[in-house]
């Protein structure tokens, strides 16, 4: 209730004056003429109400609530086999009663539509009977069913329709505070009913929220085919043949509801299915925005024509409640406004097409009504994969960002070299490439198949095979961008190949004028970093840094290779060099990009990890915290960078002895990476192994196994069987299974690991030898002593040759071999080996674990020997 502390007459004066102005000028006018803020608020509320009021109170009180006939007359009356219970509603030509069968055959409640007394003109009669005939044609779950019909003993035609206990669609959506997608699903039921009617050559012609009920279990029921028409063979409804559709009739009889009527309807032109599509547009508009597409202030013919024929409704996103605006902007705006086009031919041509676009919107697919620009398709593609396969989003983000970077660099270079025309050619080439690429996500192109990010990249790569031969620098930049994208998806082999091509091509250019070579080298090194191939990353990065320094000492992207090289040193334990480089990178980023940039966040992140390695926990905490704060402010949740920093934070917590928090953080990271990389990723593999070993350290092998087992296959197929991450992951799984006593599975896994290392590292690498010994141990536990002994003997030979006879590894192998000998009933061999092992262990002054193990094993062997004698 408004308790006004202002002058009502002043308010009236200002209100009346404001209404004389066009709506968009009122605010400014009020600024000048209404200094009182409270009065101003009051006036704004009133003006808003005025705009929203529509036909509010235009129907007079009698029509709204006049004494219903049922009170005196109708209740209890028999109409055909039905007894009237009460009035439900009244419409333009009849009253709808709730009635039930009176013949006692079965209890059935129906909506009984009876023509009103007093309006029994021939025309109304015909129309009433037409509705009955139309309903008889239609049998659909979303259309109130015709049950019966006849003539009462007083000669009034009636029919009985399925009684729908429901709420009008808008009220239903509001009452349940439905979200946009729920509203759309509801609407799709309406569309389905209308589609069915059209298929049966019926146009409804009076679709409006009041005619669309939703039952308690969420089913839509379309009512009131009172002015529906059967289409002629030519698809038209027989325009205005009896004058019913003319404007005069429209205003006199209120047979139509002008707010939902199509322009051709108020003009009295031909009615087709497009008329219903328009009305569906008005219903959808109101369902999504809570506002009507058109406000008809006064029901005069000119006013209706003005509103319906001349006014183009505001975009739904401009008038919807604030919470829904973002969702409506873009696709839904376009879909609704396409349905609401004034010219029938420019609307959706069928209800299926309208419904199809809505369904595609709900699935995150591009809609047909949108213009075919690459920005639209790229944006759509990225959004579609935001949750389902965020890797794709990452891929395209990197692709587009990479190209933006390229173009930007081109601009810098061109300004200095004054080669503006070359730059323009490059930008054009990049733009054309993107247009071609994203045009492939067009449904017309894919025929319903939704291309994945990697398919898109494969296509881009094929395009690049032939494109841009005359612009090698641009081609190199695009190759590097696509390579970067493959890398982000975890497709390392493809990425490496393309980076190699990009680098080779860029090297053919006389000088790295626009930084293409440096960027490609840095990107490629990033792949090696991910795969822990530090010795391959370092030279690429050194070259990139040198190139950048020569080309432009003030290169804003210099920090990237510097930072990456710092990381290499962190991982290879060269901590002084690492810290120096990472601090340099941080300084560069702060200078060029500012304290809140993602570049700076990367530097904080890497520096934090380095400080952690130096056991400077407080410093690490601060740096990682800063990185995380920037990421979270700048990036969407689940972004790979956020996850990366979180896993670094987990490492910090573990180093600080806080296992619980470390585990919680890792689990958060793994869960997010599952969302982001549904097809697997080296970073996911890394986090999984880490979490697995954390669990295994606590003896939680079963948890560790169930975490790891499902990941092996898809990472093997994603990264290839020779990938480090894949082999190490299988090794972890073998260890967990061995610990759980699942020896058969452990053996199979371990054999795969061994084969993998033999292929990739050769027979003499310590990892290969470790794998042989682990396999031997599993075989030994399975009682396969012969093969165990052979493997260990081989490993022993190699170890002696590679590391000499006195290495602690030799002692370990001797110990395992002794246990096999002992089990195989060769106690003397066992004793001999153990004595050699003991000598090595004591000489090596290892931490004593091996010594103790060997001593206790030797003791056991000797003990059994003694007993046997």
């Amino acid at each position: 209730m408004t308790t006004a502390r202002f002058d009502w007459h002043e308010a009236d004066r200002l209100f009346d004056a404001a209404l004389e102005l066009p709506a968009e000028e009122r605010a400014r006018w009020l600024d000048e003429h209404c200094p009182d803020p409270e009065l101003r608020r009051h006036l704004e509320r009133l003006l808003e109400a005025d705009a929203a009021a529509g036909r509010f109170l235009e129907l007079d009180g009698w029509r709204i609530a006049g004494p219903p006939a049922s009170e005196d007359d109708a209740v209890g009356r028999l109409v055909g086999p039905y007894r009237i219970v009460r009035e439900l509603a009244r419409g333009g030509m009849g009253i709808v009663y709730l009635a039930e069968r009176a013949d006692g055959q079965f209890r059935q409640q129906v909506a009984l539509k009876l023509i009103r007394h007093g309006i029994d003109s021939d025309r109304i009669h015909r129309r009433f009977l037409a509705e009955r005939q139309i309903l008889a044609r239609l049998s659909h779950a979303n259309i109130a069913r015709l049950l019966d019909g006849g003539v009462s003993d007083r000669g009034e035609p009636y029919f009985a329709i399925e009684y729908v206990e429901g709420v009008a669609i808008i009220a239903h959506a509001e009452a349940r505070a439905l979200g946009v997608s729920e509203r759309l699903r509801l609407f799709l039921q309406v569309a389905e009913a209308v589609r069915y009617a059209h298929q049966n050559l019926v146009v409804h012609r009076d679709l409006k929220p009041g005619n669309i009920l939703v039952t308690g279990d969420g089913q839509v029921k379309l009512l009131d085919f009172g002015i529906a028409k059967v289409l002629r063979g030519d698809g038209q409804a027989g325009a205005a043949e009896d004058g019913v559709d003319s404007l005069v009739t429209l205003t006199e009889d209120r047979l139509l509801t002008p707010e939902y009527a199509a322009p051709e309807q108020v003009r009295g032109e031909a009615i087709t299915t497009a008329t219903d599509i328009y009305a569906l547009g008005t219903v959808l508009y109101e369902l999504l925005t809570g506002r009507r597409a058109h406000h008809v202030e006064r029901r005069t013919p000119t006013e209706i024509v003005r509103a319906v024929v001349e006014t183009i409704p505001a975009a739904p996103s401009a008038v919807a409640p604030a919470a829904r605006r973002r969702e409506l902007r873009g696709d839904l705006d376009v879909i609704v406004l396409t349905a609401l086009r004034k010219e029938p031919a420019r609307r959706y041509q069928t209800v299926e097409k309208l419904a199809g676009d809505l369904a595609r919107y709900l699935d995150g697919l591009p809609v047909s009504a949108r213009a075919d620009s690459w920005r639209y398709r790229a944006g759509k593609f990225v959004r579609r994969h935001r949750f389902g396969a965020a890797a794709a989003a990452a891929v395209l983000a990197s692709l587009v960002a990479g190209l933006a970077g390229t173009v930007w660099q081109a601009r810098v270079a061109s300004e200095r070299a004054r080669v503006a025309s070359a730059e323009a050619a490059k930008q054009r080439a990049v733009g054309e490439f993107l247009v071609r690429l994203f045009a492939r996500t067009s449904p017309a192109h894919t025929l319903g198949h939704d291309p994945s990010a990697s398919e898109l990249l494969d296509q881009g790569r094929r395009d690049l095979d032939t494109a841009l031969a005359e612009q090698p620098e641009t081609r190199a930049a695009l190759l590097a961008a696509v390579a970067q994208a493959y890398g982000a998806l975890g497709h390392m082999p493809q990425s490496d190949t393309l980076f190699a091509q990009a680098v080779t091509l860029a090297r053919t250019q006389p000088r790295d004028a626009d930084g293409t070579l440096a960027a490609a080298l840095t990107g490629w090194a990033g792949n090696f970093l991910v795969e822990s191939k530090f010795e391959q990353a370092a030279p690429l990065l050194r070259e990139a840094i040198a190139l950048s320094r020569v080309r432009d000492p003030d290169d804003p992207w210099m920090a990237r290779p510097v930072r990456a090289l710092g990381r290499v040193y962190t991982y290879t334990g060269q901590h002084d060099s690492a810290a120096a480089l990472l601090r340099e990178a941080l300084a560069l980023d702060l200078r060029h990009h500012g304290p809140a940039s993602t570049e700076t966040a990367s530097s904080y992140d890497d520096l934090g990890y380095e400080l952690l390695k130096q056991k400077n926990f407080a410093g690490a905490d601060t740096a990682l915290g800063r990185a995380l704060a920037i990421w979270r402010a700048r990036l969407p949740a689940d972004h790979p960078s956020i996850l990366w920093t979180l896993s670094n934070l987990a490492a910090l917590r573990l180093a600080q002895g806080n296992r619980r928090e470390a585990e919680a953080l890792l689990r958060e990271v793994v869960a997010a990476q599952h969302r982001v990389y549904p097809r697997g990723h080296p970073e996911l593999a890394h986090s999984l192994m880490w979490l697995g070993s954390l669990l295994a350290e606590e003896g939680r092998y079963a948890e560790a196994e169930s975490l790891t087992a499902p990941e092996v296959a898809r990472h093997r197929s994603l990264l290839g069987p020779d990938n480090d991450h894949v082999i190490v992951m299988i090794q972890s799984l073998a260890d967990f299974r061995y610990r759980l006593g699942k020896l058969g599975q452990a053996e199979r896994d371990q054999r795969e690991v061994l084969a993998g290392w033999r292929r990739t590292l050769g027979p003499e690498h310590h990892r290969t030898l470790d794998a042989e010994e682990r396999l031997a141990v599993i075989l030994r536990e399975e009682g396969k002593l012969g093969e165990a002994s052979a493997l260990l003997s081989d490993a022993l030979v190699v170890r002696r040759r590679v590391g000499g006879d006195r290495g602690i590894d030799v002692a370990r192998t001797l110990l395992e071999l002794a246990i096999v000998d002992e089990r195989a009933g060769r106690p003397q061999d066992a004793e001999r080996r153990l004595r050699e092992a003991l000598a090595i262990a004591r000489a090596a002054k290892s931490d004593g674990v091996e010594t103790a193990q060997i001593e206790s094993q030797l003791g056991a062997v000797l003990d059994r020997e003694r007993k046997r004698r």
């Binding site: 209730m1 009346d16 009698w62």
Partner: protein, 184 residues
Amino acid sequence: MTDAITDVLLGARDGDARALDRLFESVYDELRRVAHAALRNEQTGHTLSTTGLVHEAYFKLVDQTRVEWHDRAHFFGVAARAMRQILVEYARRRGAVKRGGQFRLVALEEGLVPADERADAIVAVDEALTRLAEHDPAMARVVECRFFAGLTEEETAEATGASVRTVQRQWRRAKAWLYQELAS
């Protein structure tokens, strides 16, 4: 009967307060009778609008030959208040109570709305109108004439003694005020 009403009407013009009361009672009774008959009985009932009812009552009650333009205005004003009361009574009899917005505004806009909801809406309009009258009785009268009695802008202007332009402004203001009052 007709002569009596006409006398009362003429008396009311002369400022007889008791006459006004009697006028209201007579108009009210007659309107209610006409209203009932309108839906019960075919013989009266090709008219379903309030305007029709009011006019029908007027023709029944008043001997037009004896009443000037000014008195017709009086009649409309009284009839509007009577119609308001009749409609609200019906609504209440249908079980409408103060439920504080348990209806949709659409109940006041569209034809095909459940009767219970329409009844609630009528009661809510009536209550809001009483509040409006505290601030601006003239504006409330316009709503009474336009909405409850279904009078045209011209008839409303006649009944309230204002210009048509003023009535149009008051009507639009009142609708906005009631809309935001009922929508909130």
